[in-house]
Amino acid sequence: MNVFLDAISLLTTTDSNLLSIVGLSLWVSLIAVFFATLIGIPLGAATSLYEFRGRQFLIVLLNALMGLPPVVVGLIVYLLLSRSGPFGVLGLLFSPTAMIIAQTILIIPIIAALSRQIIDHLWIEYSEQLLSLGATSYRRMKTLIWDGRFSLLTAVLAGFGRAIAEVGAVMIVGGNIDHVTRVMTTSITLEVSRGNLALALGLGIVLITLSLSINAIAYLLKEFAESRQI
């Protein structure tokens, strides 16, 4: 109980260390979600709408990669960014950029696979009308993404959920360096091992609150859009 009270006290006194950890976590995850959305949604829509060689394989691959083990992704990004790796010259290892890259790789399959399913459903409804109006493949894709934007938000949120809660990959490529690459999840792991349960619990509360808040906002936005049929 004392631990819980200490955690609440840390949160109410806006501990600067805690704030910097939360800030970095949000920054890394949001940037990763941004890039994964830019790649994942068009990729999902393309696998839904275009016929090309290897399409079935890509669909199976994206579905399988939704459960990609974070430590493996972390290891691969580590090997790519390490000094002896092909991108070692960029000096990105143990930086927030490396963490963004790892998280982006992790969540692209989630956003792409879920987007494909959403676009698939919308295409069943729209196909004849769009073909009848003479929409080109590109316009079809653009229209379906726009009209499915509120449903696609769910896919983006699923990606964000995975990114913000991720620990294995960011630990490997970020190194959990204080004030540089320390995020909520890596910090919780560290503080637990140090026995500093109050800070760990405080961070846990923030993590859950953030996750709930973002999901609630997205849910309300979707409900609003559906009620107005926009």
């Binding site: 409804e125 729209y126 004849e128 009308q129 073909l131 009848s132 109006l133 003479g134 929409a135 080109t136 316009r139 229209t143 726009w146 009209d147 107005r228 049929q229 926009i230």
Partner: protein, 253 residues
Amino acid sequence: MILKSIPILSLNNVCYEASGKQLIKKLSCQFMAGPRCVIIGPNGAGKSILLKLCHRLLNPSQGHIQWYDEKGNKSNSIINQAMVFQRPVMLRRTAAANVDYALSLRGLNKIQRKARTEEVLKLTGLTHLGHFSARVLSFGEQQKLALARAWALRPKILFLDEPTASLDPSATFEIEKVINAIHNSGTQIIMTTHDLAQAKRLADEVLFLHRGQILENSLASTFFAGPTNKFAQAFLKGDLLVWDQKEVKIQGR
């Protein structure tokens, strides 16, 4: 009497097969410019498939569909055409934006699109609903909007697939008014229905389709005075055409 004798579209021995089932069987016919052609027949006759084949939403399994230009010469390009479906598909945007979207696909600039959208919404009596989300409109209003969207494209041919199938008489009346207005503006109408009263009101020519075959193709006045085909006669009489896996049986009183 055929009003004009310029062909616009002809089908030669067109077959359409899906999942091993032949839905359109060696169908040949020609659509001429001018008269409103109404395709009638019971459910499952192949009316919607025929329209989709003409509109190029489906490709024939066999046979050939030939388009003609405005002078009646064979043409390789497909003339400007549009289609309205039984269930209107409204994009998730306002009524006006639905029309605007269709026009944007035809490459019109913003000023042209705005002018034409306002014009068709006014012609169809939908101006007051222009800023509403298209998906909150009633079914009848949505169908009217689908007609407005198609009309905005100024098509030479407009295919209508049972446009009033789920509408009440007053909404049907409104839709028929718009269909007549579109026809009067110079657009060729080819539509399907299984509503005989509607066919009488709208048809200049009737094409009776049953089990993927044309059984009767004549002027509306001739058809309704007395078709020559026994199934068409039975359909007109209100008898049921029942398929019992081997042959068609007529079930009357």
